[in-house]
Symmetry: C2
Subunit: 259 residues, 2 copies
């Protein structure tokens, strides 16, 4: 039987809230066995860019990454947030190691082709160095990934943190029995997006089709669930979506997705 | 016989000059066997702090690190410079891994006591996790250290890069036959500080005393050489000081220091 591996992605809403972050880090540290943290950015990138006189340009919720923005994001994600998360996890007794995709060629990506939109220095993942990540996990370290990758030609690239978490989970599924956690601001996939108590606790292939047909799932949740099922088809055991309290056993409800 | 290990420290004058940096990275990549890079900052920290309206306060050539300055330095050293060095080394075929002192508790330090001067968030090194660094080296990775350490209680600390390089060299001297390279702007220790062609090619304990007695060594070189001899006494095989070209075989002259 394969060992369990938990891969947890957190977003800006946790990183920006010191109390929520500390609470998350305690719950994350308490997770038994091998685990990986993947984090996005937060408001500090936007705050710093306005200080530096850079304009943040977004299309479809994705940041357009020019050279200055890439430098800024690299400083904030890999410098400020990643290093600080690692130091705080170390203080809690979690033997964390900060990683960008460039370290040991962990996450190699390719600059997205310019079609209708030029996203700038945005990378689409090509390969994951699962041997290196496994070496860290088997040595009982906890890798902490920022959402910065590289093209192996010296160019750093901004990459979606949800996608990084899924790609790592898929790459490690041949070594581990892998669960992917997406911590976000809502308690899960909701039947009624305005009612926090309408969490759908379990979704599988069949119920997913029903939810799509009845129009219950829409907007931002559509690509998220599509990515979840792609990860499941590629060997990830289950995906959990909800607030970070789902990591502790005394959790509120959240959504579990499996084939 | 122990395997050779080269530990190379570069300063801001290389980091700030794209051509010199690329040249250095090629020479560094060409070094055979296990190796470690340690880097300081550069002008970009100062440039960014003025953009952000922070004042850089220096006493005796050391930056006074308040909370905002620490955040800035962490972003520039561990974010911008470290991540970019790793990506450029990866492009050259050197399997680099970026590290701050917080990763795997690599470099634990203690906030410097306030005596006459309050240096702020500056750390004096307490311990090096040589087991982890050896694991990386034996797995044929090249660790790249920024000058950021931590106190294992969640606090990041600014630490002198020369001191980090020496402390790592000493800690690894029981595993490896260790050479420490300090790359700086001059071609070595000079008999006449205004004459670049007056390099002293070899210094040992006896000639060091002579140089001190005759007043040839003074100013900024005094603490540098003191640190070198402390590292040698603690097991480092030799220390080389000069321009980064000393790493290649077709080098100009530089200073070698040994007991």
């Amino acid at each position: 039987m394969k060992q369990f591996l938990n891969i947890v992605k957190i977003g800006g809403h946790i990183i920006d809230d010191p109390k929520a972050l500390q609470n998350f880090l305690v719950n994350f540290t308490a997770l038994q066995g091998p685990k990986i943290l993947v984090h996005g950015g937060g408001k500090s990138a936007t705050a710093l860019s306005s200080k530096m006189g850079l304009n943040v340009q977004m299309i479809d919720g994705r940041r357009i990454t020019d050279a200055n923005t890439l430098e800024l994001i690299t400083m904030v994600y890999s410098g400020k947030i990643n290093t600080s998360l690692v130091a705080n996890l170390q203080a809690l007794g979690c033997d964390a190691i900060g990683c960008s995709g460039a370290d040991a060629n962990c996450i190699q990506s390719r600059k997205r082709n310019v079609s209708e939109i030029d996203y700038g220095y945005v990378g689409d993942i090509q390969s994951i160095n699962s041997d290196y990540i496994s070496l860290l996990l088997k040595s009982e370290f906890t890798p902490v990934f920022s959402a910065i990758t590289h093209d192996k030609k010296g160019q750093l690239l901004n990459t979606n943190a949800d996608t990084i978490a899924a790609a790592i989970a898929v790459a490690l599924a041949s070594y581990f029995d892998t669960t992917l956690y997406y911590c976000f601001e809502k308690p899960g996939v909701l039947k009624d997006k305005d009612k926090a108590d309408s969490v759908i606790e379990f979704i599988n292939k069949e119920t997913y089709k029903e939810l799509l047909n009845t129009g219950v799932i829409s907007d931002g949740m559509l690509p998220k669930l599509k990515n979840c099922f792609e990860a499941l088809v590629q060997g990830v055991s289950k995906v959990c979506i909800g607030q970070s309290e789902m990591l502790s056993n005394v959790s509120n409800s959240y959504t579990t997705i499996a084939l």
